[in-house]
Amino acid sequence: MTPLLSVKDLRVGFGRDPAKNEIVKGVSFDLAAGETMAIVGESGSGKSVTALSINRLVDFGGGKIIGGSIKLTRADGNVLDITQAKEPVLEKIRGSEIGMIFQEPMTSLNPVLSIGTQIEESFRLHRGLTGKQATAAAKDALDRVRIPDAARRLKYAPNQLSGGMLQRVMIATALACNPRLLIADEPTTALDVTVQAQIMALLGELKRETGMAMIFITHDIGLVAGIADQIMVMQAGQAVEQGTLGEVLDQPQHPYTQHLLSAVPHFESGRAARTDFSRKAKETPALDVDGLVVRFKVKGSMFSRAQGSVHAVENVGFDLMPGETLAIVGESGSGKSTTARAILGLVKPTRGRFATHMGSITDATDPATQMVFQNPYASLNPRLRIDSILAEPVIAAGGRVTNETRDKMKALLKRVGLPEDSLERYPHQFSGGQRQRLCIARALMLNPSVVVLDEAVSALDVSVQAKVLELLVDLQKEYGLAYLFVSHDMAVVERIAHRIAVLYAGQIVEIGDAASVLSNPQHSYTKRLISAVPSIDRRNQHFEIDTRQVPSLVRPPGFEPPEAQWREFGPDHRARAEA
């Protein structure tokens, strides 16, 4: 039988001289109807370019196919070489035979058109449906991706739907004309883990229902275990390993695949949690947070009073010992970043008390607490040299830049693994991982006792992530630092946390030592969160589709939540009692 798609020695280049600037260097694979292939690789590996070449969208990004063939068996049985096809033919194929979903559902939809109009467009173009027929078809498409109350949702604008819902809309659009091949380019990277699990489950079900083939691009090798039949691992434009799911995951041949499988953090349900710290009875905490409340007023119109407020953080309290890591996990909107920012004084808390061992924190200038931000590209001023960047905390603390300061900068740079001549360079001369090391060095300039890491490794490539985590653990042991590690990524949290606090809708719902929380979650939300984490152990596991939404955090003025009831589940593990 001829395969649905057969790619032979595909070469793609970019720029004025595509032959010199080759991004994809000879990739070949076959894909049968109904099969799913996962392309796994880090940024710059050419995985997206490979996929975009299949429907020739790569032409619009300045790319050019310079060699090889892409043979697609069309619905009528003819075989078409996509590399040679003309644009009008390609326009017919895109959407009707090859569907595509992108990474960012929030920007893939036009914000001023209703989602109904946007789904109908596909039916109008490829099926010639109009008016009521198109609307009915769009409703069916939304039903198919399990959007409740589809008829009403058709009239919604994209901003009225959550990210997960929008990705469902994107899938509905891509599937509108029953394509025989669906290309999914990191479709869940921008989404929370529980939403990711829902989307993965949906894609699995749709695949079974329609019998379409799928190419799934991802950087997360754990994610594909549940859905792929074949895996292709890409590095620097080449397919370094190809094979069935079992072969690649169980007997990886290429060193890079082995590296991806071993060095990269995978979630192991608490088995990989750190055990190198235990609390002593009488010790002053490095950071003590008690009853932290952050509310943002919802503004009414000019003449009416405030409508209420967003209860972003509600009565959060914890303590953090020197040398200990407390991870705050939760999804977007759970208030985890707001908590971190309130401790650093970037957000004004409504109520609450913090204390370090130096005493109560009164403002942001406490040198005992420092912060490392998520995006290493945005957290360094591009116009300042590294020596000025590292000098800033010293100057801000009222100090002067002396030879001693320079020596300290050099020592710290060496410690975080950067070359000595880095001081005379500018941020753009460093890679993402190196910049994050710079940020860590900057945070350590004032010898802090607490470092707040706000998604500090989330923006980095998986293998770089592992190295930065290692560095953080080493630094913690060396300087006795206390880390407050804010993250949504359970696999990363498992590697660095001693204790975990789970935040949901602005409140801590479960807190305790990492191994206990991860292996034996008690609160229903923690359970849901942990079961959603992708893992290579969970092959072809079926996820239940769960469309529960986070409750609204907007409360009327003067609202005070009821006192929390806690239940103990061990020496250091407690969860909020549920109604």
């Binding site: 403002d363 040198p367 116009r383 100057i395």
Partner: protein, 279 residues
């Protein structure tokens, strides 16, 4: 030095840069009276003399050397243009930065005043200011500065707002860096690129505005010379002595073309999105 090389390897930068360089040299020569003849010397016998070896651009109705007056005029326009743009840049940057940083009432107040100023055509607003303050070189400097301040305020406020919410500013706050440190090192330093482009373009406009004001008799006052004034004087003699009109007109045109080309080149060079393509 790196910047100069970048300008001269950019096609429109090469032309614009050369014109601006020549313009500045001519302006300085004119300002320090290093002209072929004394600009106010009247050679009565050679009135309305056509361009020749002695009088490169001919003479005017009073027998004054047009080339010398033109150099003096270029110097005068340059002085007015540069001082006006310098004032506008300083005022606009301070207003824009503080508006972006403090926000709320101050932002609203500043930006609404700027909106009102921008609602008038440049020359009309300048006329209004001179009508109140009386004509003269320094009132025209003030008028042009006021007219162009809103543009700088807007050019600064927009990017300043976006830089203000970047993480490195948050990072600076967590160290407890002072307001003035953040405003100068983090905000202003990142605004150098858009400001440089804007200054070059504003120089072109302000030269034109200055010429316009002098043409209407509200800028530089005779007997001092200015390009606009020379144009105004030559109108009635257009047919008998066309050189009186042609040379100052061409001078205005070329100088504005030069500054605009240079501004375009700078925009390409300083914009990170186009930098890779031109470099």
């Amino acid at each position: 030095m790196c910047m100069l090389r970048a300008i001269f390897s950019h096609p429109s930068g090469r032309i614009g840069g050369t014109i601006v360089l020549i313009y500045v040299v001519v302006a300085l020569l004119g300002l320090f009276d290093l002209t072929p003849h004394y600009p106010l010397q009247q050679y009565r016998i050679d009135r309305l003399h056509a361009p020749s070896v002695v009088y490169w651009m001919g003479t005017d109705l009073f027998g004054r050397d047009v080339a010398s007056r033109l150099m003096k005029g270029v110097g005068q326009s340059f002085l007015v243009g540069v001082s006006a743009v310098a004032l506008a840049t300083i005022a606009g940057t301070i207003l824009g930065l503080t508006a972006a940083w403090f926000g709320k009432l101050w932002d609203g107040l500043v930006m609404r005043i700027m909106d009102v100023l921008l609602a008038f055509p440049a020359i009309l607003l300048a006329l209004l200011i001179i009508a109140i303050a009386g004509p003269g070189t320094w009132t025209s400097v003030a008028a042009i500065a006021i007219v162009y301040t809103p543009i700088f305020t807007r050019v600064v406020r927009g990017p300043a707002l976006s830089i203000k919410s970047r993480e490195f500013v948050d990072a600076a706050r967590t160290f407890g860096s002072s307001k003035s440190y953040i405003l100068t090192r983090h905000l202003l330093l990142n605004l150098v690129a858009p400001l440089t482009v804007q200054v070059t373009l504003a120089l072109a406009w302000s030269l034109l505005t200055e010429a316009g004001l002098s043409f209407l008799g509200l800028g530089t006052q005779p007997p001092a010379s200015s390009l606009g004034l020379m144009l105004a004087d030559s109108r009635n003699l257009m047919e008998t002595a066309p050189w009186l009109l042609i040379f100052p007109a061409v001078a205005i045109m070329i100088s504005i073309l030069g500054f605009n080309l240079l501004g375009d080149a700078l925009r390409d060079i300083l914009d990170p999105k186009t930098r890779s393509r031109t470099a």
